[in-house]
Structure formats: C-alpha cells, structure tokens
C-alpha cells in the first residue's frame, strides 16, 4: 500500500469508516442473531484495515515514476490470500473426508458437523483459493497483455480485501449454521449484496484497464477473464434474489418457487463450474502456458473458436443436474445435448494446450512448473470428457447421488483448477517479486508428485466407490426386492473413504510445501538485476531508491 497517494488514503479511510458503521449497525440490529456476530467481524476487519492505512499515512509520498511501472502490490497480497485459503480449505476438506470414514470426528459439536464443514470446504477452496487466484492472476495478465498499468490504485485493493471479507463472512456463517442451502451459493443475503458491490467494482476496474491498453488487440486470456467476471455477476444476482426475514435477521427466502428454484440453482451451479472454475482458469492457461513454455499458443484462431463455443454452450447445460426430476423432459434433453456438444470446445482448448508443448516436451520433463500446467490441461480434457458422459441421462441414472460425481468434481478441482493455479503461481511469483528463480526447484518437484499422487488416489477411490454404490442401489433379487440396504452400501464404502482422505491429505501437504517454497522465494532468493536499457539514467536511480519491502 506504500504507493497510495494522500487522496487515495483519504478515500480508503472514508470507505472503511462507512463499512465500520455498517458493521456496528449489523451488530446492533442482529444482536440476537448470527448476523450480529457478522457485524462484529465486519467492524473488526474494517478497523484493522483502517489501522494499516492510518499507520503508514505519514510516510514519504509515493514515487511519481511509479506510473511508468505495473502496479503489482495487490498481486503480492493476493498470492498470500490464495495460498492461505488453499491450506484452510483443503484442511477442512481432509477433515470432512475423514468424518465420512470416522464419524466421531465431529466431536459431537454442532459447528463441526459434516453439514456445516462441507460448505466451509467448498467455499474455502472454490471462492477462497480459486477466487483469489483468479483475481490475483487477472491483475497480472491484464496489465502485461494490455501493456498498461491498472486503471487506478484504490479499486484493486477494494476488490481484493472486499472479496476476502465476503469469503470470511460466508465461511464463519456456515459454522454458525447460517446457510441458504443452495450449492456453492450458501452465503446469506447480506454477504451476497456485498459481493455484488465488490464484483461490479472488479468489472469496472478490468474494463477501465483494458480501455487504457497499448495493444490494438485484446489477448484471448482477457476474454476468458472478462467472461468469468460478467457471467459470475449475472449468475450470482439471479440465483440470490431473496427476501430477508428482516434487516436484523440472517435468514432469507428465495423468490423462486419449486422446480424453477431448482432450475435457477443448477443453471447457477453448473455455470459456476463453467465460468468460475473453467473460463478464468483457461485464461491462466492461455497466458502462463505460452509464457512458461516460451512458445506461442499452437493456434490462436482455435482459442477464439473454443472461447465462443464454451461461452455459449455452457449456459444451457445446467439442467443435466436435474435428470429424472419434475423438470420438463425437453429441458433435461436440452441440458444433456449441450453437455455432449461441450466436449468439442473443451477438447479444442485442451488439445490446443498440449499441441503448444509439441517440440518442448524436454521442458516438461525438466521443469516441474510446466509439468503442473501440462497435467492440468490433461485433467481438463479428462474431466470435460467425463462431464459430458455423466450428463447423458442413462449414465446419470447410475452415477447420480453417488461418489462418482464427487470424483468427477475433484478430477476437475484438484487435477485441473489447483494444478493450473500452482503452475501459474510458480511462474508468477518470481516475475512479480523480480527473483531469478524459485527458492527450491526440488520442492516444486515434490509438490508436483504429492499433488499428482493425491489427485489420482482420490479420483480412483471415488470412481470405485461411486460405481459400487450405484450398482448396489439398483441390484434386485429374484423376488424383485432390492438386494442391498443403504447401510450395506455404506459399509462397502469404508476403504474408499479412507483412501480418499489419504489422497486429500497428500494434496494438502503439497499446498503447505508450495506456501513454504514461495515464502522462502520472497524472503531469500536474490533479486534479479533489472534491465533498464531503454529507460533514462535518472529514472533508473529513482527506481533503485524505491526498492524496499514490498508492502
């Protein structure tokens, strides 16, 4: 925050004061309700940030030459948010997995029951880890591909800290039992409203930065980021149209009735996968893969075709979550058909990525970071194929409500989303902190194998248990009665649940190793000698003086 001007600090302080007052109001109005606790959290969060702003406000004024450099300070903070949320979210995930094998791990408490820690896990990894990774890398990619500095210095901080406040309010709410009971949209109305404000700011910042670009053409990675920002805003608003019981009450009721609510929820839910967990991460793929491989993307035109394919097909696929329900049959067919068609643009992207590496496979062998990205593209191809397959109605009759779905989601979340994120972070961190390399290439290698082994163990365990479950539930005896009770299938799951928890644990250890490695890179690796051939000598000296601690 050292580069903020006095005016920006005043504005930041004003925003934080308003937020603190909102926090007090929430705490007062909701003193008999969980919303009161959230009011206290909002108050403490804004006062903490206010202290940060105030305590540095009498420092030296920012260096005027900063305008001729990229604005990377929010990216550095975003990297830490990403890494910490990963450890938190994955830890809760391993815990939830262990509870399925050993149910007494909820310690007979309400807050640690499976129904509460599961959304804490999904929100922690999807929104905490994934969302921070997307915001952080998008700030990096949009500046580099536009050859322009972020449009202003305040709104990136607002987006980053505002978004993390949303995540904190959401996760703490689940532990208290606050939930909308909508998958991936569990956070209640006040958190949702706050996210809308943050998200619109993010959108405006992104568009303003693109408008300042020096490149005539907007690089395809930005299209994906923009699709992610725009569509998530639409999805979030429509799925969270609710009426709260009162302003001092956390509970709200959705305006959508019956089967419409299911349809809206899964239109949201599947597009959250599409635009949160796919589009934004494809943006990372299209920037960090060519960068790391030092080769241009195999086919730029193919990337454009697959962009529009993914954007327009995914929108219609959500109803495949509601096969054999009250949803009209033709809507189920529509979702199924579009899900199958989605394979074309999905494999176009995965193929484009893998063909980019043709001629650079020796780099994949030697460089674990590039291997992260390559393996992510591979898992992207694998899980999109599996997704199209599972969306076919007869297949779904076997797979639905079983662990196969869970295995599919984790092939995507661990194999694709997390691997591409760590590959991007290992490329981003040395570039942003101007280090010549990561602290330890060996630790990147260790992380790769932990992550890869963890994913494979997890996915195979869930494939096995899911198909066994599905088959046990549909096996009939000669007399026409079910051959197995539900508890029989549960007993059969026991070894797979242990294997799943172990796979997740390996992945979690990998995330801890990555955090340590990045920490040591920032602390210990010598800075890269900057090349400034095309900058006047005076500017060079000013640069040297400004090189201090990052924040």
């Amino acid at each position: 925050m050292g580069q903020l001007t006095t005016r920006e600090r005043d504005l930041a302080a004003a925003i934080l004061l308003v937020l603190a007052i909102v926090g007090i109001a929430m705490a007062a109005a909701g003193r008999f309700d969980p919303i009161g606790v959230h009011g206290a959290i909002v108050l403490l969060y804004s006062l903490g940030l206010l202290y940060l702003i105030m305590s540095s406000s009498f420092g030296p004024p920012p260096d005027p030459s900063r305008i001729s450099r990229y604005y990377d300070d929010p990216i550095k903070v975003g990297v830490w948010f990403t890494l910490l949320w990963a450890i938190f979210g994955m830890f809760i995930g391993v815990w939830a997995a262990a509870q399925l094998a050993w149910p007494s791990l909820n310690f007979d408490t309400a807050w640690a029951s499976f129904g509460r820690i599961r959304p804490a896990h999904t929100t922690g990894v999807i929104f905490g880890f994934g969302g921070n990774a997307l915001i952080t890398t998008s700030f990096h990619v949009v500046q580099r591909t536009s050859r322009a500095r972020l449009a202003d210095q305040l709104s990136p901080w607002f987006v980053l800290f505002g978004y993390n406040l949303f995540c904190i309010v959401a996760v703490t709410g689940y532990f208290m039992g606050v939930t909308q009971s909508k998958e991936y949209a569990e956070a209640e109305w006040y958190a949702d409203l706050w996210l809308v404000i943050v998200w619109v700011t993010y959108f405006v910042l992104y568009i303003r930065t693109l408008a300042r670009r020096r490149e005539p053409h907007i690089y395809v990675a930005n299209w994906y980021y923009l699709a992610f920002i725009v569509v998530v805003a639409i999805l979030h608003i429509i799925n969270n149209l609710t009426v709260p019981v009162s302003l001092g009450h956390a509970k709200s009721y959705t305006i959508w009735p019956g089967v419409q609510d299911s349809m809206v929820q899964w239109w949201y839910g599947h597009n959250a996968v599409a635009f949160f967990l796919t589009a934004g991460f494809l943006a990372m793929l299209y920037y960090y893969l060519p960068k790391r491989a030092e080769r241009p993307i195999f086919s730029y035109r193919l990337s454009i075709l697959s962009f529009w394919g993914i954007t327009f097909f995914y929108m219609w696929a959500g109803s495949h979550h509601l096969h054999y329900t009250a949803l009209p049959h033709w809507v189920q067919n529509l979702g199924m058909t579009f899900s199958v068609m989605l394979l074309v643009p999905s494999w176009a992207s995965a193929g484009n990525a893998l063909l980019t590496l043709n001629g650079a496979w020796h780099k994949v062998r030697d460089d674990a970071t590039l291997r992260f990205i390559m393996m992510a593209a591979f898992f992207y191809g694998l899980s999109t194929f599996e997704g199209s397959f599972l969306a076919v109605r007869p297949v779904n009759s076997l797979s639905h409500y079983t662990d196969w779905t869970v295995g599919h989601v984790h092939a995507g979340a661990l194999g694709w989303v997390a691997l591409i994120t760590y590959g991007s972070l290992y490329t981003l961190v040395p570039a942003i902190w101007k280090r010549e390399r990561m602290y330890s290439a060996a630790l990147v290698e260790v992380h790769f194998w932990l992550a890869f082994a963890g994913t494979v163990i997890y996915v195979f365990a869930m494939w096995n248990s899911g198909i066994i479950q599905g088959l046990m539930w549909r096996t009939y005896t000669g007399e026409g009665t079910l051959a197995y009770s539900f508890v029989d299938s549960l007993v059969a799951m026991y070894p797979y649940y242990i294997a799943r928890a172990f796979g997740g644990l390996l992945f979690l250890i990998g995330a801890v190793v990555a955090t340590y490695n990045i920490w040591m890179t920032v602390r210990g690796v010598p800075a890269l000698a900057e090349r400034h051939e095309d900058v006047p000598v005076a500017a060079h000296l000013a640069d040297g003086a400004a090189t201090g601690p990052a924040e």
Partner: protein, 56 residues
C-alpha cells in the same frame, strides 16, 4: 400475449436454434477473416516479449 410454457418451448426449439446457428456463423467469419490474421499473429507472439514495463 400470454407467455405460457408452450411459448417458451417454441422459442427455445426454433428461434433459440437459429440464434445459435447465426451466432456461430458470425464467430467463424470473424475468426477466419483474412484481415484479422496479422492481428492474431501479433497477439499470439506479443505476449512472449521480455519487456516488463507499461508502454507509454
């Protein structure tokens, strides 16, 4: 005019289809438009530039 279930079905099954076909034709024309080739080539190679400062 009443918007009923039948209206939505008709829109989805006819106009929705034409809209998507029309849209995909537009995308293909844009992608393969000869004048865009130079722009795309530049975008493809430009990101590999080692330069790490905004252009002014």
């Amino acid at each position: 005019m009443d918007v009923t279930h039948a209206t939505l079905v008709e829109a989805a099954k006819s106009w929705g289809l034409f809209y998507l076909i029309g849209f995909s034709i537009c995308v293909i024309i844009y992608t393969f438009w000869p004048a865009n080739r130079e722009l795309f080539d530049r975008a493809k190679k430009g990101i590999l530039d080692k330069d790490d400062q905004p252009w002014t």
